[in-house]
């Protein structure tokens, strides 16, 4: 298969950031109150992810090693500001609905995760396609979760009313519903043994972090001055702080038990 197309398909199916690698849980939980909000968040992240991968990959030989992380953060934050201003100008309804979660795309682990694990090692065009694939995978996941919550919680999909009001379970559009839907999703993945970061069968990737982003945090921060380890195991063994290491060990044990 064409390697550019392969990156896009990889992001949507094989390494889907939400369903399989489980990154960026905060926006996933917070903005999926309706399919439309999920779509808005997904597309904003898609735009930032594509161009941050492109720019960081293009600058990867220019940015000195010690300034890598601050440099990446500035690139991402600038792109997020551009996207934020565009949304505010052209889609004010989405801007109102997403509110603070648009500027918070800066700290979405998918973005820095892809920059660290892919854009730093590959050419600009390939990185762009990787960002496109990952962004589409994220959008796809958010729209699905948003549709489920909107359908059960307010009986509609994309504001198109399907279920009469008497049968709405409105807790699904409130905060607890987000946790419940995600719990059901991961439970189904466990049951069917689908590849996912929650059941240990996941595609080996540097940023698989079993439902939490701690792995990425410590990698991104403490590895700043060191070469990036190629595998999750090497990365965690080499650079994670003591406690994170312990946590990870326990985690692996738990995983083995579950499997």
């Amino acid at each position: 298969m064409n390697k550019y197309l392969e990156r896009i398909v990889n992001g949507i199916f094989k390494e889907n950031p939400t369903f399989i690698i489980m990154l960026g849980m905060c926006p996933t939980l917070a903005t999926t109150t309706s399919a439309m909000n999920g779509l808005g968040m997904g597309l904003s992240t898609l735009a930032v992810l594509m161009f941050s991968n492109l720019v960081i990959s293009a600058l990867r030989k220019v940015i000195p090693e010690r300034m890598r992380l601050p440099g990446e953060i500035v690139v991402v934050a600038s792109l997020v500001t551009i996207v934020q201003l565009l949304i505010q100008a052209y889609v004010p309804s989405i801007y109102e609905a997403l509110g603070i979660y648009i500027p918070l795309i800066v700290v979405n682990c998918i973005i820095l995760g892809r920059a660290e694990s892919y854009a730093l090692f590959n050419g600009p065009l390939l990185s762009f396609c990787d960002g496109l694939g990952m962004g589409l995978g994220f959008t796809f996941a958010l729209v699905i979760i948003g549709s489920v919550r909107e359908l059960i919680g307010s009986g509609s999909i994309f504001n198109f009313q399907i279920i009469p009001e008497a049968y709405h379970i409105s807790i699904f559009v409130l905060a607890p519903g987000a946790f419940l839907v995600l719990a059901m999703l991961t439970a189904i993945q466990n049951k069917l043994r689908l590849p996912s970061a929650t059941n240990g069968d996941a595609v080996q990737s540097e940023f698989v972090c079993s439902g939490n982003c701690m792995g990425c945090f410590s990698d991104c921060k403490t590895e700043a001055a060191k070469p990036i380890a190629k595998t999750a195991a090497a990365a965690s063994a080499a650079v994670k702080p003591e406690v994170a290491k312990e946590e990870l060990k326990v985690d692996h044990k738990e995983k083995e038990e579950t499997v």
């Binding site: 849980m25 939980l29 918070l104 682990c109 719990a183 972090c209 439902g211 701690m214 945090f217 921060k221």
Partner: protein
């Protein structure tokens, strides 16, 4: 005074940062395996968020706001508010590094207990969220301080509760159905905690 108390109660209990605003979900799920480590993380988050809240407020008022001295001097009528996100994230990243160095050198005992968690906080969205909300809610210095304190205490509370539940009920429990072991049961617990926190809604 009454306003400040209301802010503190509202953001630590009623609209809890983790359970109703979904900021800082990652550490909430990641560091809540043991009460010991959740104590350290909670302490570090309180420490960093309170400082970051006050400092970013100061920077906003001085350099970025249209009414601030910098914009007045340069004659910028619209202010530099579009730089908020970039400036805040860089300030927070630098601040965390600085706090880490300071603690390591001057208060080693505190560094022992909080040190390993500090680098993890830079990308905790709650910190940036607090800084941005201070601006959008138009808080003054005292309100920013109390808001940061309320948010971070709420975070530490949720984290500690979750760690207690996981350590005492979830860990090694055979009665959890097979498909719910691991992260699903933790998410179900978070769901029940979020419902319980709805109960605080009547407080204000």
């Amino acid at each position: 005074m009454k306003d400040l108390l209301l802010i503190a109660i509202k953001y630590s209990l009623v609209s809890n940062v983790v359970l109703s605003q979904f900021l800082g979900i990652c550490p909430f799920l990641g560091v809540s395996k043991k009460t010991e480590s959740s104590k350290g993380m909670g302490g570090a988050v309180i420490f960093v968020i309170v400082i970051a809240s006050v400092i970013t407020h100061g920077i906003y008022v001085t350099f970025l706001a249209a009414s601030g001295p910098l914009c007045q001097a340069l004659g910028l009528k619209d202010g530099l508010e579009y730089l908020n996100t970039i400036v805040f994230i860089l300030v927070i990243a630098a601040l965390v590094q600085f706090v880490e160095m300071f603690l390591k050198k001057n208060i080693p005992s505190l560094y022992e207990s909080l040190g390993v968690y500090l680098p993890l906080i830079t990308t905790n969205c709650a910190v940036l969220g607090v800084a941005l909300n201070n601006v959008s809610y138009g808080y003054n210095l005292a309100e920013s301080f109390v808001y940061g304190l309320g948010i971070s205490v709420g975070f530490a509370l949720a984290l500690l509760l979750m760690a207690g539940i996981r350590e005492n009920i979830i860990a090694g429990n055979d009665r959890i159905p097979h498909s719910f072991q691991g992260s699903p049961i933790v998410l179900v617990t978070a769901c029940l905690m979020a419902i319980a926190f709805f109960g605080f809604g009547g407080l204000i």
